[in-house]
């Protein structure tokens, strides 16, 4: 039986896909319900162990969702093995939340979407809001029965862009969601983040800089439709029907922006370039622009 859309927050109804968000209140009310699996996905690999939503399972962006050898995500067999072990079925409603304004939760949601998992939602406000509201937390790890999640091919075309797709994309909008310092080329990593090894600094020519965190309010919830529209349509010049590619440093912050563009604002052709700056900034011979202006798209 499909799980109903959470209509308790009037803000959601404005969004293109209100079914992709749920409130902390709704989650607490529906804890333990069959057909719903709550997943915590954090930047900090130990945060789940310090306490999580009762019944929530942990999926780590690095140790679970990335291939340990190739720079890529797990394949269909790996994803099936992971979800089977976590006790998630193909038709379950998966509800994801995490630290840092759902930064890594959005990344997990995007990867679930590459595998076509149909019903996957974010808890608006994420882990911090849940805790700030004093909702229940436990360190008890749930024992869910293993499932038989099917092996599904990962779709690398619809929601994901590779470097060659970016090169062919020039002339269409690019959104660089990193900090202004990374965009201009003052530095290659987020302020206060470790060096992750790009050899050049700057941005992909013609990219508009909209730091990902601008899409969330102080309490970690997504901004209203009109605020998001002002940011991305008026600010970054995106128009309905645009084919958009978002990128950051390794594709995690841009997963968050991908979620906003695709599910909240309703752009239908949005891809996340997960190679992002750690790849583009190290490629031989590709065009790069420094400074705070987008610069011109090279002719193809």
């Amino acid at each position: 039986m499909p799980v109903e859309v959470d209509t308790s927050d009037s803000k959601f109804a404005e969004y293109a896909h209100p079914e992709r968000l749920i409130t902390t209140e709704w989650v607490e009310t529906n804890l333990g319900r069959d057909g719903i699996v709550v997943v915590e996905s954090d930047e900090d690999v130990l945060l789940y162990e310090t306490g999580h939503i009762p019944g929530a399972v942990k999926i780590d962006w690095h140790t679970d969702l990335n291939d340990p050898v190739t720079r890529d995500f797990v394949d269909g067999a790996g994803f099936a093995a992971l979800l089977s072990a976590k006790g998630i079925s193909r038709d379950d409603t998966v509800v994801i939340y995490g630290d840092k304004n759902n930064w890594w939760a959005a990344y997990a949601l995007w990867i679930f979407s590459l595998f076509g998992h149909a019903d996957v939602r974010l808890i608006d406000g994420g882990r911090d809001k849940w805790i700030a509201e004093g909702r229940p937390i436990t360190t008890e790890v749930p024992s869910r029965d293993a499932t038989d999640y099917p092996v599904v091919d990962r779709d690398d075309k619809t929601l994901r862009a590779f470097r060659d797709d970016v090169a062919k994309h020039f002339g269409n909008p690019l959104v660089d969601v990193r900090s202004p310092e990374e965009f201009s080329g003052e530095r290659t990593t987020a302020p206060a983040y470790p060096e992750e090894g790009a050899l050049r600094a700057g941005h992909i020519p013609s990219a508009q800089n909209v730091p990902w965190g601008k899409a969330v309010a102080e309490d970690g919830t997504f901004r209203s439709l009109s605020e998001l529209s002002a940011l991305y349509r008026d600010g970054a010049g995106l128009n309905d029907g645009d084919d958009v590619i978002a990128y950051c440093r390794i594709g995690e912050r841009s997963s968050h922006t991908w979620f906003v563009l695709q599910h909240l604002l309703g752009f239908e052709n949005v891809r996340n370039y997960d190679g992002s700056w750690t790849e583009w900034g190290s490629l031989v011979g590709v065009p790069i622009v420094t400074g705070s202006e987008p610069g011109e798209a090279p002719s193809r």
């Binding site: 900090d44 690999v45 130990l46 945060l47 310090t50 690095h62 140790t63 206060a192 470790p194 992750e196």
Partner: protein, 145 residues
Amino acid sequence: MTGVLPESLVGIREEFLALDQQDRLMLLLEFANDLPELPSHYAEHPDLLERVVECQSPVYLFVEVDADNAVHLFATAPPEAPTTRGFASILVQGLEGLSAEEVLAIPADFPQTLGLNEAVSPLRIRGMSGMLGRTKRQIRERIAA
């Protein structure tokens, strides 16, 4: 300088390596929970502390070398960053009371040898390498002064 790992850190490493991956995480969490509070003279003077920019979470440290040449490392990191707290706690507890020379001789790859690469990921372990490197640099500054 060829590295020699002090007994205290050998012991911590053996503790980790004796466990399976999930229990290594739980041991790291125990370390995180055991990170000592900052003494009040540092808690009241955060300006004395050095930020470890290699860590993804705000972690600050300060190193003392006392009159007997014994090292005392102080560190602080928020509860929302248990991995970082765990790394700091391993060093705070493992380095306590060692001589400056003993700390300087710790192999730079010590963090990579704890068996946490699989459970925590190499990327995250870089934060601990940053703490160790900064600790050694502060010690060199103290003993040169």
